[in-house]
């Protein structure tokens, strides 16, 4: 199991020390957020790490941390504030554009209009081994629990095509019954072969704020029944923008002489995600909106957020590598 992260501001400071201590029924109040400006980078980083830590209690937890904290009302109150602010920020970022009324066509347009910088393209031709390892460390926060945030959505769906199709894809993500093909375990073996740690969240202290936000948005969409549309829109955009970059990473990692295990992980995603994308767009999102038309706008919010957060992550990483 993982250890608690290093705090990034006053709220995560108190949260980490609370989780590190004995379980108590009643907590004193949370500190004020760092700074009055919600866009202040210290506050954004502090809030992002705090929310990430709270969500993590619902996944694998932390070594030595009492498991009852997951549902502690005072922790849920903090989560309520952090998620509320995150959701508001994400909604504000989405530009108002015309909709065709056909959710699949609108999704395809959002995906086609995405012209963000690509980390895979950089690594395919130019990146160094250090940059590849840096990317793997950042991605490990999500890839070591790949598919899990989307699994929260399954019981929130009524029956029918969307549910059956989602489970069909998740079954593939979890190795279709074969533990050797479980995607997050494939990634763990890739990390180890590179001489990196495969312990969950070993690199959370290295994670840039954008990566924490990516994870937080995915978990929040998955954990709230109300946001099931956003969760599935996010899933469709994620799968639709994975096949080609995975192939570029395989080529880049080959060029850099990275071990076969880490190439195998991305190699698997070239074919898998070419399938998942088709099913996610039509059978999952299309069928969901047919049944629950009011969810259309949230489906698009999820898709747009997925691409927007990846764009922000890529921009930050390229800047960190001095190539932007």
């Amino acid at each position: 199991m993982a250890s608690l992260p290093t705090p990034r501001g006053p709220v995560s400071e108190v949260l980490v020390s609370v989780l590190d201590g004995n379980f108590v029924e009643q907590l004193t109040a949370w500190p004020e957020p760092a700074g009055d400006d919600p866009a202040d980078p210290v506050r954004v980083a502090d809030d992002a790490l705090s929310l990430w830590t709270l969500h993590e209690l619902a996944y694998r937890g932390f070594t030595g941390v009492d498991e009852r904290w997951e549902w502690h009302p005072d922790l849920l109150a903090l989560r309520w504030r952090l998620e509320g602010e995150l959701e508001q920020r994400l909604r504000k970022r989405m530009p108002a554009t015309d909709r065709t009324g056909d959710v699949v066509a609108d999704l395809l347009r959002i995906i086609a209009d995405d012209d963000a910088p690509s980390l895979a393209r950089h690594l395919q031709r130019h990146g160094s081994v250090e940059q590849a390892h840096d990317l793997l460390r950042q991605r490990s926060i999500y890839h070591l629990k790949e598919a899990d945030p989307t699994s929260w959505v399954i019981p929130r769906l009524e029956g029918g095509r969307a549910k059956a199709a989602l489970v069909e894809i998740q079954y593939d993500e979890y190795g279709a019954g074969d533990p050797a093909r479980l995607h997050h375990d494939l990634f763990a073996r890739g990390m180890e072969a590179c001489g990196l740690s495969s312990e969950p969240n070993a690199y959370v202290d290295d994670a840039i704020t954008e990566v924490l936000e990516q994870n937080n948005a995915t978990s929040m969409f998955g954990l709230h029944r109300r946001l099931r549309g956003a969760a599935l829109g996010h899933f469709a955009a994620f799968e639709s923008t994975s096949s080609l970059p995975s192939r570029q990473l395989v080529q880049g990692f080959e060029r850099l002489g990275l071990p076969v295990e880490v190439r195998a992980y991305y190699d698997e995603h070239v074919e898998a995600d070419a399938v998942h994308e088709q099913v996610a767009l039509r059978d999952i999102c299309g069928a969901l909106v047919e049944r629950e038309p009011d969810l259309a706008e949230d489906v698009l919010l999820g898709a747009w957020t997925c691409l927007d957060l990846e764009a922000r992550t890529a921009t930050a990483m390229l800047k960190r590598w001095g190539v932007a």
Partner: protein, 71 residues
């Protein structure tokens, strides 16, 4: 809301617009050279654009073809 009276049916083979052919289940696909490939996942995508680097499976390259055409 109640579910539909008739169960929704699902096709085993689906032609995706400007994309691959989805195939469900455990099947063997023979490529143009006569080599046989068995599916390894619950749903597989067979390339229809002829540009894939992973024949007979789709690797997403068809999207570059559609994008170029729309430009």
């Amino acid at each position: 809301m109640t579910g539909p009276q008739q169960p929704e049916t699902r096709a085993d083979i689906v032609m995706c617009p400007d994309g691959p052919m989805l195939v469900r289940g455990d099947v063997v696909v023979e490529d143009a050279d006569g080599t046989q490939h068995r599916t390894t996942r619950p749903v597989s995508a067979v390339c229809r654009c002829g540009r894939t680097s992973r024949a007979p499976w789709c690797d997403g390259t068809h999207k570059l073809v559609t994008e170029a055409r729309e430009r």
